[in-house]
């Protein structure tokens, strides 16, 4: 019975998607104008722009920045989070600073980043890393501070200390929180990538979208937007896949109680 129900749901989902695509297709054909461009032309532009012409010059640099920024954010968030979570004094001193800094809308710091770091990759990677490290940092800090007392006592009984404790006990225990933080920041990373590419840049998907709009090449602009949607989805699927693998013990079926 549930199998039949499940098949129905999948069918429903596929049907709805097809319907939406059809409606967009027909509507853009009918409403063909300055802003609304027929979907057929957008796909054509997409093929030309992103499969051939700008794949190496713009798409790859964007993906590199995204990956580097996100990796740096994870490293920074987990590293600083472990420190702040492990030492009460550090936590007390830095908590107000952290709260102040993460409250500043990152976009408002872009002019500063331009002045200090210029327009090259370093600026974009730094901006992405800065914007996305906060949720990871806060989640890691909380996770370490709320480490289960029995888990902690067990580590003490078996004299697991120092680096061994960090690697074998603390990090795994906190990893569900770290992954939650990373997932929350994935969309920020993409957002900041596009914004940083729109100001002072000569390459990247964001740059292409903006220049297409400024040269009245609206089909190319839409093609860029479509590409961002695809990147966002693919990155998310990859992330969920990685998370499932890494947290198999945590995301096990029938989980009723969380140990962290």
């Amino acid at each position: 019975m549930t199998a039949i129900r499940q098949r129905w749901l999948i069918l429903l989902e596929a049907g709805a998607t097809a319907l939406i695509v059809a409606v967009v297709w027909l509507y853009t054909n009918v409403a063909n104008g300055i802003v609304v461009v027929p979907a057929r032309r957008i796909l054509g532009a997409f093929r030309e722009e992103w499969l051939f012409q700008h794949f190496v010059t713009d798409l790859l640099p964007s993906l590199e920045r995204l990956a580097a920024g996100f990796a740096l954010a994870t490293l920074l968030g987990v590293g600083v989070g472990l420190l702040l979570g492990s030492f009460d004094t550090l936590y007390l001193i830095w908590q107000p600073v952290v709260n102040f800094l993460r409250s500043i809308p990152v976009v408002s710091l872009l002019p500063l980043a331009l002045v200090v770091l210029g327009t090259d990759n370093t600026m974009k990677i730094t901006v992405i890393a800065y914007a996305t490290c906060w949720p990871i940092l806060l989640n890691t800090t909380d996770g370490v501070r709320q480490l289960d007392p029995t888990l902690d006592m067990t580590a003490r009984v078996y004299r697991i200390t120092g680096v061994r404790r960090l690697v074998r006990v603390v990090l795994p225990a906190v990893s569900p929180r770290i992954f939650a933080g990373m997932r929350a920041t994935l969309s920020y990373a993409l957002l900041l990538l596009v914004v940083s590419e729109m100001i002072g840049s000569t390459s990247g998907v964001g740059f292409r979208i903006l220049t297409s709009e400024q040269t009245y090449n609206i089909a190319n602009m839409w093609a860029g937007i479509l590409l961002l949607g695809i990147i966002g989805n693919v990155v998310n699927v990859l992330f969920v896949f990685a998370e499932r693998r890494a947290l198999r013990w945590y995301l096990r079926p029938g989980l009723s109680e969380v140990t962290v």
Binding site: T150, L151, M153, R156
Partner: protein, 274 residues
């Protein structure tokens, strides 16, 4: 099954390995200080099996943690072989009530048990053997590569016991180890712990709220007074023959006598009394 009196109860001449002197634990700070443990004196001799019972809320778990060095005492001390315990020393292992939280869920049974071994203390092959042996001792050889969440509660507690055995402790502290499993599993685990402690030559200090369990397992039952300022009310030597047996031991007259005596003491100490 053993009806003949082959007594191998605590050799009274044996050396004291664990000594608790004048131990007190105080909670809270300025203004609202609560003396959880008032004054505990206790001597544990090698190969003894000691059970600590007391009215609920008397601080049994607190006492065990303080003895193990997991909680700083406000006065007094516990010593293992004369060395003052300030943190869990080598030669001492603890089994907690909450096996679900004391086993690491991201590690298999094998990895959980191996964690108790000190790096480099023995070669890789020897370490591997120690792990498989301890897992075999608790009857879980077929599940050595399973994860804790794939096992029942009783099996998880067996893993915790195997882990404690793997580090070859001289003394094993157990904090209400069977409180979260059902009655049948409980008696199985009681017998398992008695077996492995005898087999591995481990001295044991077990905290429980269950009087039957205490009398059944112990060479000596330590009865605590109620909180606050808990102290030792009485120590009762249990001279029942070993090996103990769930059926025959519990039908003996001495068992009933001890049980009744301790029960009366705990009723007297219960907060509801007087």
């Amino acid at each position: 099954m053993t009806t003949t009196d082959s007594t191998t109860s605590a050799p009274h001449t044996a050396t004291t390995i664990l000594e608790v002197d004048d131990l007190a634990v105080t909670y809270g700070g300025r203004g609202n200080r609560v003396e959880a443990i008032g004054k505990i004196d206790l001597k544990v001799r090698k190969d003894e099996f000691i059970c600590i019972v007391g009215p609920s809320g008397c601080g049994k778990t607190t006492l065990l943690k303080a003895i193990a060095g997991l909680l700083p005492p406000s006065r007094g001390r516990s010593r293992l072989h004369g060395n003052v315990i300030t943190r869990p020393p080598a030669g001492l292992a603890v089994v907690f009530q909450d096996y679900g939280r004391s086993l690491f869920p991201w590690m298999s049974v094998r990895q959980n048990v191996a964690l108790a071994l000190r790096r480099g203390e023995q070669g890789r092959a020897a370490a591997r053997k120690t792990v498989t042996d301890s897992v075999a001792a608790v009857g879980l050889s077929d599940f050595i590569d399973h994860y804790p969440w794939q096992l029942s509660g009783g099996m998880q507690q067996r893993v915790a016991i195997a882990r404690a055995l793997a580090c070859k402790p001289e003394i094993l502290l157990l904090d209400e180890p069977f409180a979260s499993v059902d009655a049948l599993v409980r008696s199985e685990l009681e017998d398992l712990v008695l077996d492995v402690c005898a087999g591995y030559g481990v001295t044991a200090l077990l905290v429980t709220h269950d009087i039957d369990e205490a009398v059944y397992m112990a060479d000596r039952v330590v009865v605590l007074t109620k909180a606050p300022a808990t102290s030792v009310r009485k120590e009762i030597v249990v001279d029942l023959p070993r090996p103990r047996n769930q059926l025959t031991t519990k039908t003996r007259a001495e068992f009933a006598t001890h049980r009744a005596e301790i029960y009366q003491m705990i009723v007297d100490e219960s907060p509801a009394a007087r």
